[in-house]
């Protein structure tokens, strides 16, 4: 953005005098090491930003007004005056009954949307009675094996009024089919329900490692959901393209930004190959970012993300509908930044991260609970997390004006730098032949592992200080944590057994056969998945049927 502007010369001169005679002079007399002033991602930050850094900034082209291209300042003209972000706590544990109770608790205390955490067997598409599920049932989330569990999970929750986000990836289409079926049983049409399935397999290969099928088949299933959703479930976000897990795996802020947006480009390209129109399906693509510790770097990341995506959709994909240009995103505060030592301090970390998300213009927010380095959150801990959002929304005053940090010399400079660095990465991955190719080459995985290693070493050298961990340590009393009883596993197995006995098993068989045939014929699988789940075929049975056709992905083992 810098041009040679002669009118800035007096300021340039004044600045260099200030730097030499004031700043450097004082620094020389103190014993302060200047190398440590970097972001959590290792990015060097200057001692001061001035109009000189913004020289050449074109307001209309680079920022625009909120609700106007390129949306750097927000996707809605009214931002939080029109509507607050959705307070959506990711939650799920034990059996469906336990989680249903927690949802009703959260809704009665002012939460405005649901977000389902499934247990690991469901995330991997296996049933609770699978040998690999031993010890895992109901532990990391709620156990869902069939439509019967899903009916209990949403019992008494009006699906025409509450929106639901489901963190589910390889089996996303199956769980979505279950949700549609539950809504229909409540008398709610698929045209009315709203929510999100995460359904982002690329970041699984890159970072979170919850994969089942090889990339090609996974991408086919995802495009099926885009196509089906655009026609049949128009208010549903069929994907949540996620940087969260990339960041948690150790990436820098720029890597999170770049890999996530390049994943988005990859999905759009694969959908276009099927002949889908960007103006029809792209408005239902949503994003999901991390809010990490470095306050300004995070705000710059969110602002840069909106601008790059708007440009990509308008220029690269020639989308005409402005809704295709909007980067709508959910944010979760950073899990890895929570510390087991002096866990009460996590409340402060979460508050700052959540504030960055709000100043960055998020549409929806999850705040982590202070006890999550130990276990899933207790009811008390999750209440503080929700209250943190409410304090920001109703007491801090930050919602009064859209993009309040817009125009800050520092924030605008950082936003422009992040935009440039992310675009360089995107170009690099384009040159490799796209994200699926880059993943096969191990490129994003290696970049992330390198960053994670660098950060760990920086902490150990005390170049990065973590309060209570490598500085200001002290002993603390253990805090109370939520315990999932092992009886949950037994109950779940009994229910699964009963379902398999009482359902119409010949119908299940027929529906699974139909599904396999459709997969072989490369048809859109959504109607067939709906057929299977309505017959109470289990998640494991459905995924096994698809594994027969698609095979399974094996990751190369590297570190």
């Amino acid at each position: 953005m810098k041009k040679n502007n002669p009118s800035q010369n007096p300021l340039k001169q004044a600045f260099s005098i200030w730097k030499k005679e004031k700043f450097d002079k004082v620094m020389r007399d103190t014993d302060c090491d200047q190398s440590g002033f970097t972001t959590v991602s290792g990015k060097k930050i200057k001692e001061l930003y001035t109009p000189l850094d913004l020289d050449g900034l074109d307001y209309a082209q680079q920022l625009g007004f909120p609700g106007e291209y390129p949306y750097t300042r927000g996707i809605h003209p009214t931002m939080y005056r029109g509507r607050l972000w959705t307070m959506r706590q990711f939650s799920g544990f034990g059996a469906a009954e336990d989680t249903n109770k927690r949802y009703k608790y959260l809704l009665s205390h002012g939460q405005t949307g649901l977000s389902v955490a499934f247990h690991l067997p469901t995330l991997m598409g296996i049933d609770s009675d699978h040998p690999l599920a031993v010890g895992e049932v109901g532990k990391c989330g709620v156990a869902i094996d069939s439509l019967a569990d899903m009916e209990i999970l949403f019992d008494g929750i009006p699906l025409d009024k509450i929106s639901t986000s489901m963190t589910i990836n390889p089996p996303a289409a199956v769980l979505w089919a279950m949700y549609i079926a539950v809504a229909e049983k409540q008398g709610v049409s698929p045209k009315v329900i709203s929510g999100t399935i995460q359904n982002d397999i690329l970041k699984e290969y890159i970072a979170q490692k919850t994969f089942v099928f090889p990339p090609e088949s996974s991408m086919k299933l995802i495009v099926d959901t885009f196509e089906y959703g655009a026609k049949e479930v128009p208010r549903w976000n069929t994907i949540s393209i996620s940087g969260y897990h990339i960041r948690e795996a150790g990436s820098t802020a720029v890597q999170e930004l770049a890999f996530t947006l390049r994943d988005g480009i990859e999905y759009v390209e694969w959908a276009q190959k099927r002949g889908l129109d960007v103006n029809e399906f792209v408005p239902r693509l949503s994003f999901f970012f991390n809010a990490h510790n470095d306050f300004f770097e995070e705000i710059a990341k969110f602002r840069a993300a909106r601008k790059i995506w708007a440009e990509v959709m308008k220029e690269r994909f020639k989308a005409k509908d402005p809704r295709s240009w909007w980067l709508r995103f959910h944010t979760q505060t950073s899990g890895v930044s929570l510390m087991a030592q002096q866990p009460q301090n996590n409340v402060i970390r979460v508050a700052l991260q959540a504030l960055a998300a709000v100043l960055g213009g998020t549409q929806s927010l999850h705040t982590n609970s202070l006890d999550e380095t130990y276990a899933l959150p207790s009811e008390d801990a999750v209440t503080i997390a929700l209250r943190t959002q409410q304090v920001i929304a109703h007491e801090s005053g930050v919602i009064n004006s859209a993009d309040p940090l817009g125009g800050s010399y520092f924030v605008e400079t950082l936003t422009a730098q992040m935009e440039k660095e992310a675009k360089d990465y995107i170009k690099k991955i384009d040159d490799m032949g796209g994200m699926v190719k880059a993943i096969e080459l191990g490129f994003p995985q290696k970049e992330i592992a390198d960053s994670a290693y660098w950060y760990q070493k920086a902490v150990e050298r005390k170049e990065k200080i973590i309060v209570g961990v490598n500085a200001f340590e002290m002993d603390h009393e253990p805090i109370p944590t939520l315990k999932i009883e092992d009886t949950v596993g037994k109950q779940q197995l009994a229910r699964l057994k009963k379902i398999k006995k009482t359902r119409n098993n010949s119908e299940v068989k027929a529906k699974l056969l139909d599904l396999k045939r459709a997969a072989k014929d490369d048809q859109n699988l959504m109607p067939f998945l709906l057929g299977c789940v309505k017959a109470y075929a289990t998640l494991g049975e459905i995924m096994d049927a698809l594994k027969e056709i698609y095979g399974e992905y094996k990751e190369p083992i590297t570190y």
Partner: protein, 136 residues
């Protein structure tokens, strides 16, 4: 004296795919001069124990973040005993509540490294407790 290098198997049992910690540990142990074998994700107790025996390791490092440690650890310890490999030191890290630690130690886990442990501490612990290897 150039002794036999200490051999460590870094293993991820259970279903969780969070391998950031395991990978950082692998690199740190390798940089500290150990022989490191990484199992990759989602290994059963049987696979882990048979790799440990096959690779003749001195230490098994388990990374568990899913909450399934109270089920997976006893299985691994039983299998080691069954195969006559109880001399292998087993250490663990991940999301493990304080109250579970005494139980795991009773099962024979030598050391649990909680979140915030430095890789330095882990390297030092291994060097101190696996002295025999350099003497072989």
């Amino acid at each position: 004296m150039a002794g036999k290098k200490i051999r460590v198997l870094v293993a991820k049992p259970g279903l969780d795919g969070h391998d950031r910690g395991a990978k950082v540990i692998c690199r740190s142990l390798r940089d500290a001069g150990f022989e490191v074998i990484y199992t990759g994700l989602r290994r059963t107790p049987e696979e882990i124990v048979s790799s440990a025996i096959q690779e003749d390791v001195d230490v098994i490092g388990l990374s568990i973040l899913s909450g399934a440690h109270n089920v997976l650890v006893p299985k691994i310890m039983d299998l080691l005993k069954e195969k006559g490999a109880e001399d292998v030191n087993v250490i663990a890290g991940g999301i493990i509540p304080d109250k579970d630690i005494p139980g795991l130690e009773k099962m024979g886990i030598s050391k649990i490294f909680l979140p915030g442990s430095s890789t330095e501490d882990i390297v030092e612990w291994i060097k101190e407790n696996i002295k025999e290897a350099s003497a072989v």
